[in-house]
Symmetry: C2
Subunit: 327 residues, 2 copies
């Protein structure tokens, strides 16, 4: 066993197919260059102590799962997947050892950027490396997905997948994960509406619209599938113009199922008016973040336009590297 | 021959299916209670003199079509369909008589409200009545459509149809016109973005998007057809809640083919936030007007919200009466 181990994993944005993915349609997700970094050290006792700068939470788990908060309240649900991730790796190795787990993340939480999955993936990798297990990426993905299952009733699995493998992935719930060739630089401006998104509410809203107008929503999702397929080709061709058009169309399909609002539209149109090639909701909608695809020379202009429209802009790039042992 | 004859015809809004109608999809249009009124009198000479308060134009046509402006410039294109409408009726009756044609209209021009068709229909009816011809509504429609053909290369025919028959019509280019049963009061707030719309530019834009992404746009138009069919049922059932949902979805489909913009979205969201049941572009988009469906008790609130968002609101109602002889 090593004395210390560090691993990091990237955040993600959904480029195409959010919501539709719940109904087994194709989604395309991209790892971005915001990372969660997890450091683990063995402890003499059998406690698993987790500290997170981002969440402002620290807590202590016993091996049987009892929780005692150290900092930031009694709520353990956000720390629990990290505990489960670590515990699963320990179980797999047959080790019974306490751990100090320290999380430093640059990923905004609760913004649809997959912060939770990135932390689970990095924790899994760091603990595996601490125990000198040489876990494969497939192993890490499966273990992290199990941890995610503890908090998210029915996770699609796309978040831990993209945090593990990096790059751009096509994903279908029933049909696995495919890494896509991308022959382009994909500079994005992420625009946070500062309106808290409620993923659960949005997913319920879509299921209600689907119940009321099943053929219409099936039709919309069918178009979404066509758009995602064209996007795979545009990514391969490095055709940013087409990719931008397709993002705009995908955004309109999300609008059609009722997950846009005025705060979102303000940012989307601010980005387009500043010359973004395409702009759309990323994630659940109803607030949260948008992404705008832009030529690199125009990125700051798009970001400024989003800022003027009351959004919080952040320039991000594709992260080819998924989970990574840092030492 | 009578000494004077007056007829009026209503404006229209498109409830569902603008743009898609060009590609032989179903559209639903409604006559509204803004009318063009046309008064005709025989003249001793063989001139056809047209005066329009709305257009600020007056001009004189000879029987062979030569044009001489009286007021408002040399451009005769906007007066020409009126001349043609009158001339066609005279030809049909085998009469050779000059006419004074006076147009008083409360329909805003160039706003996608079918002002031109309403004037052509009212002119046709007024001249027919002057000549004591007892034209049927079908006759009036066909004659007015011919006049529209002079200025609009390939008119869908829906504008003269709804101005002639009134009420709510389902229309398909290849498949005629059907009057719909409507078991509801349909109070609308019309919101003018004050951004000049360019129908030709918008139609070309849609044809370009369709050329680039044929399957996607076919899919979107297929969904539009489903939406229009559900709307027919909702109109029959008097189900305004469903009608509002369907208007929102139709708007999103128009957004998807690229005919919305920020000015439009501002008014659409202003209406929705004020409690409109649904809001959408009506007509070509890219500016022009939106319509918002509202409960009657909430109409003024929706109108005020549109005004605050920089729109010009106007409350309109369904006009059951199409073309009408006024005296």
């Amino acid at each position: 066993m090593r004395e210390i181990s560090r691993a990091s994993a990237p955040a993600k944005v959904i480029l195409f197919g959010e919501h539709f993915v719940v109904y087994d349609r194709l989604a395309i997700v991209m790892a971005i260059d915001l990372r969660a970094c997890v450091t683990v050290k063995p402890r003499g006792d059998k406690k698993i102590i987790i500290r997170s700068n981002t969440m402002g939470l620290s807590g202590e788990f016993s091996f049987n799962g009892d929780y005692k908060p150290i900092l930031g309240g009694f709520e353990c649900i956000r720390l629990k997947p990290i505990y489960i991730a670590a515990k699963n790796v320990l179980n797999l190795a047959g080790e019974v050892v306490g751990l100090d787990i320290n999380i430093e993340s640059e990923i905004p939480v609760a913004s649809g950027l997959g912060s939770s999955a990135a932390v689970s993936v990095a924790t899994t990798a760091a603990v595996g490396n601490l125990l000198e297990m040489s876990l494969s990426k497939d192993d890490i993905f499966k273990l992290a997905l199990e941890a995610e299952r503890v908090v998210h009733e029915n996770p699609s699995g796309v978040d831990p997948a993209v945090s593990t493998y990096g790059g751009v992935l096509a994903y279908r719930r029933s049909g696995g994960i495919m890494r896509l060739k991308v022959n382009a630089d994909l500079p994005l401006v992420l625009g946070d509406t500062r309106v808290i998104r409620d993923t659960r509410k949005m997913v319920l809203h879509v299921s209600e619209i689907k119940r009321l107008y099943p053929e219409v929503v099936d039709g919309i999702m069918g178009v979404g599938e066509l758009v995602a397929n064209l996007a795979i080709k545009a990514l391969e061709d490095g055709d940013l113009i087409t990719l931008g058009h397709l993002m705009n169309i995908n955004h309109a399909l999300l609008y059609a199922i009722g997950v846009s609002n005025l705060a979102v539209e303000r940012l989307v149109w601010a980005a387009r008016q500043a010359g973004a090639l395409g702009a759309k909701i990323t994630g659940a909608g109803g607030g949260g973040c948008i992404i705008a695809l832009s030529l690199r020379e125009n990125l700051y202009h798009v970001a400024e336009s989003i800022r003027v429209a009351d959004g919080n802009p952040l320039i991000v790039n594709m992260a080819s590297m998924g989970v990574k042992i840092e030492g």
